[in-house]
């Protein structure tokens, strides 16, 4: 399928090297801590290994190439302004000349390092615009020992995701590890992320990444914004007022802000509340223990504007 793109005059050299393959493989270390590229060096596992272009790789790795060539990474092949050490297969695996000749796994970056930092540094050569090494290493994902390739498959990504190279559909990918959060999306109410079949006919409206910056969220929850309140207000901006009579519990700087009353992923209670009915309010307003509204404090026609009111100091509507 891709053979036409590979020049015939070089094929002889490649096949000659293939014949020597069995003899050469034991000579190079290819398990465990294989050769490691360091910033500032030539991008190669073998000193003075030449770049050959991806057409040589396709000769042996056709099945990987079939998927890879449809990914966003493959588009670097068409960019003549891009240096060779950032194009195609060699953009990640290093100069392929020695590997093509020796057919040895150790002659190329085979991503079999135990230390996840080494994997990630290869990706960060080009993706610093997304996250720097320092930013990534402060995330809880990095501290959990994650590698970029735990979520991204540069060769054969999930069926429709050639752009972001994800291994699974967004959101489902997250709950594979974050199972306890995944359970929350089986609850009666949740933010509109669709994970399970009995609700899958509903159109989704969100992804996990709308709230979580998985690459450089500085907070241990990987929040995409500095504070929970700012994050919620990105969509629910009307809750910010400013109201003539705001609810102080919503303020930033004194309490838990939105999370004092709401569970962001899923809840058994209406409006994603932490508890049912007036229980939410009794967290703080303990002096209202004998005050029994007909339904809840806000649906009984009284404190309807719980986030803040422009009408009434007791957060009533009128």
């Amino acid at each position: 399928m891709f053979g036409a793109a590979c020049r015939a005059d070089n094929a002889a050299s490649v096949s000659a090297a293939t014949d020597q393959c069995n003899e050469l493989i034991p000579l190079l270390p290819w398990h465990g801590e294989s050769p490691y590229w360091q910033s500032g060096q030539e991008f190669s596992a073998v000193v003075d290994s030449p770049f050959t272009g991806s057409s040589y790789c396709v000769e042996c790795h056709e099945s990987l190439a079939a998927g890879f060539l449809k990914t966003a990474h493959a588009r670097s092949l068409n960019d003549v302004d891009m240096p060779l050490d950032r194009q195609g297969c060699e953009g990640c695996h290093g100069a392929g000349g020695a590997h093509a000749a020796l057919k040895s796994r150790g002659a190329v970056f085979a991503f079999d390092w135990r230390d996840p930092t080494k994997h990630n540094l290869i990706c960060l050569r080009c993706h610093e615009w997304l996250t720097t090494k320092a930013e990534w290493e402060h995330t809880s994902h990095a501290r959990g020992g994650m590698r970029c390739t735990d979520c991204h498959d540069p060769h054969v990504p999930e069926d429709h995701d050639q752009r972001f190279l994800l291994k699974e559909q967004p959101d489902i990918l997250c709950v594979n590890c974050h199972q306890d959060i995944g359970h929350d999306f089986f609850r009666m109410r949740r933010h509109p992320i669709v994970l399970n079949v009995e609700n899958s006919p509903s159109a989704r409206a969100m992804h996990c990444t709308d709230c979580h910056d998985v690459h450089r969220g500085g907070d241990f929850r990987l929040l995409a914004d500095g504070s929970v309140r700012d994050l919620c207000l990105k969509c629910h901006i009307e809750k910010d007022g400013p109201f003539r009579f705001p609810h102080l519990a919503m303020a930033e700087g004194i309490g838990g802000s939105c999370l004092d009353c709401h569970l962001p992923h899923g809840s058994d209670n209406p409006w994603l509340l932490v508890a049912d009915g007036r229980q939410v309010c009794l967290q703080c307003h303990t002096d209202m223990i004998d005050h029994q509204p007909a339904l809840t404090c806000w649906t009984a026609g009284c404190h309807e504007q719980v986030h803040g009111s422009n009408h009434n100091v007791l957060l009533m509507r009128e």
Partner: protein, 587 residues
């Protein structure tokens, strides 16, 4: 003539394959290490132009290979209830629909466009679209969701109101890996609610912005500006806002990063004839003390000038943070953090009947009149945080978290129209802890156990709020072509006054999801059940099946859901349905 011969000889020398010695040098941890090969190895050395030409030709071979597929079908839904409630799930399919739409076009090797989404009806649609070249991209996403909200009218009768939400978001990005990235963004969101809806509020929100990020040679600069507006009839809002943010970071000598950030936002409240200004700033130093330990210290401040709100507001706060992380080996890291936060507040003197009278006078008195009736208050707290993750065995991970925040100062609370102040409504101690155990069983299977406890204590009021959540789950293969996940979780909430529980609720959630990929068909089955133990209770049952035939491009989806809520009955419903879709795949 002589120079021509030299040039030809030079070009010929380039085309001759270089010969390596009988050994090769490999970079191992940055140092060249010699490995014997035993015979000469020829490295082919094509020229840069030859590589570029071959690479482009290679990419041309896949043009037109993108997916172009969708499921289109017809579905029927049965609601066995007078309340046609789809509030929390969006509308269900009924009639014609299209979903799992996925179109990817390769216009040229460097130029892509794509369209993805689902559409069940105009009130339940989600679309993502993108178009991109090598150094730019355009992304758009949007959804519409129509549903209902329920409330009581002045006579105490149940009122159902329609709520319609639409959102559209676009981003244009330009940049490259070697330079910076620029983004232009725009967002429009509107939620329209019938005017008789009591608790839900309408909003129309628009924002446009520009931002950039530049990372180069150890420097990092990010910033952005934005302008937007939002209005709400129910909440009496007609506001405009604008702001900007800038942050910079500098890598110092390889083991330290110093950074600073500032953001400013100005909001004009048109109907309230006032404005709010907020200025936040901070600095941070991250220092790798050694290869195993990192210390991060930071300070942040926030100042607010609010000429709209006359109730209790936060005027500003200062934070001082420290975080020490110890990471002795890849499988272990622990961290300890500390935060001191001091907050300045203003509060309305509602213990003064004159203030109450003024605050409830319609039309409202001037801001300055009520502002003069406010007093300053303060809050201060210290927070410690411990966190750790340990690999106990090769595939067994334990992680834990504990945080304790204690307030040594809190604002007193006024009693509405009362003569004196009472203890603060805010709790004086917040504790949270969780523990997670994850066991990777191989083959993609894993077991997870987690527990979380969150307690807010108000010692002066002798009250306590507790939230506990426990979860256990398994995900993994079940036989050759089966994969299943199962989970159970427990959620408890408890409010105590003194020693007595004042309010409590607890529920169990169970969920099972099974997927199988066979030669006859692929199917996914999910089941969820929730049982609330305490009054007011509620139960939920959900069962769904998705069946895709292997040799026939047809998929069938069936579901049944039932929800009862004894609290108010607003959310009671039962629905079931079945759909049949034909799978189109053009390429």
């Amino acid at each position: 003539m002589r120079s021509t011969i030299i040039a030809i000889l030079f070009l010929l020398s380039l085309s001759v394959p270089a010969r390596a010695e009988e050994w090769i040098k490999i970079y191992q941890d940055g140092e060249p290490v010699y490995y014997a090969v035993g015979y000469d190895v020829e490295f082919v050395r094509p020229t840069d132009d030859e590589i570029d030409t071959a690479n482009t030709a290679l990419l041309d071979t896949v043009l037109g290979y993108g997916p172009w597929r969708a499921d289109a079908g017809y579905g029927a839904t049965e609601y066995n209830d007078t309340v046609d409630a789809a509030e929390h799930y969006g509308r269900r399919r009924g009639g014609a629909f299209a979903h799992k739409v996925a179109i990817r076009d390769y216009l040229s090797p460097g130029d892509w466009r794509g369209l993805f989404g689902d559409s069940y009806d105009p009130g339940a649609t989600y679309i993502e679209a993108d178009k991109s070249g090598p150094h730019w991209s355009f992304d758009g996403a949007g959804f519409s969701r129509w549903g209902y909200v329920y409330s009581l009218d002045d006579q105490g009768e149940l009122v159902r109101s329609e709520r319609r939400r639409r959102q559209g978001e676009i981003t244009w990005r330009r940049g490259s890996m070697d330079g910076g990235v620029w983004r232009l963004t725009g967002i429009h969101y509107e939620m329209n609610v019938d005017l008789d809806a009591r608790q839900a509020a309408d909003v129309k929100f628009r924002q446009a912005g520009a931002s950039f990020r530049q990372v180069e040679n150890g420097y990092q600069l990010e910033g952005g500006v934005y302008y937007g507006s939002y209005t709400s009839d129910q909440l009496n809002l007609n506001n405009e806002y604008a702001g900007g943010e800038l942050s910079a970071a500098r890598q110092l000598s390889g083991d330290a990063v110093v950074s600073a950030e500032v953001d400013y936002r100005h909001t004009d409240a048109g109907l309230q004839d006032g404005s709010v200004e907020r200025l936040r700033g901070g600095g941070q130093l991250s220092w790798d003390i050694c290869t195993d330990a990192t210390l991060i210290t930071s300070a942040r401040t926030c100042l607010t000038d609010n000429s709209v709100s006359v109730g209790s507001v936060v005027d500003g706060y200062q934070e001082y943070n420290g975080l020490l992380t110890y990471h002795p080996e890849p499988g272990v890291w622990v961290s300890a953090g500390f935060r001191r936060r001091e907050t300045d507040l203003s509060r309305l003197t509602l213990e003064d009947p004159a203030t109450v009278a003024a605050a409830t006078t319609v039309p409202w008195p001037d801001f300055n009149v009520l502002d003069a009736l406010r007093v300053d208050a303060n809050s201060a707290s210290d927070r410690i945080e411990l966190r750790g993750r340990v690999r106990l065995k090769r595939s067994l991970f334990l992680s834990g978290y504990y945080a304790d925040e204690q307030f040594d100062e809190l604002p007193d609370a006024p009693v509405y129209g009362g003569a004196s102040l009472v203890s603060s409504y805010f709790c004086d101690r917040r504790e949270q802890g969780d523990m997670r155990l994850r066991w990777d069983l191989g083959g993609g299977a894993n077991v997870q156990l987690s527990g979380m406890n969150q307690t807010h204590t108000n010692n002066d009021r002798d009250s306590e709020y507790t939230l506990r959540r426990y979860a256990a789950g398994y995900s993994g293969p079940l036989g050759g072509k089966w994969r299943w996940t199962a989970g159970v979780s427990r959620h408890e909430t408890l409010v105590k006054l003194g020693l007595d529980p004042a309010e409590e609720s607890a529920s169990w959630n169970y969920d099972v999801s099974v997927a199988s990929y066979g030669s006859f068909a692929d199917y996914r089955l999910s089941w969820a059940h929730q049982r609330t133990d305490t009054a007011p209770g509620g139960d939920y049952h959900g069962l769904g099946l998705e069946l895709t035939l292997a040799d026939w491009p047809v998929s069938i989806n069936a579901w049944y859901r039932k929800r009862t809520e004894s609290l108010n009955g607003f959310g009671d419903y039962e629905d079931s349905g079945v759909t049949c879709a034909y799978h189109f795949e053009l390429r």
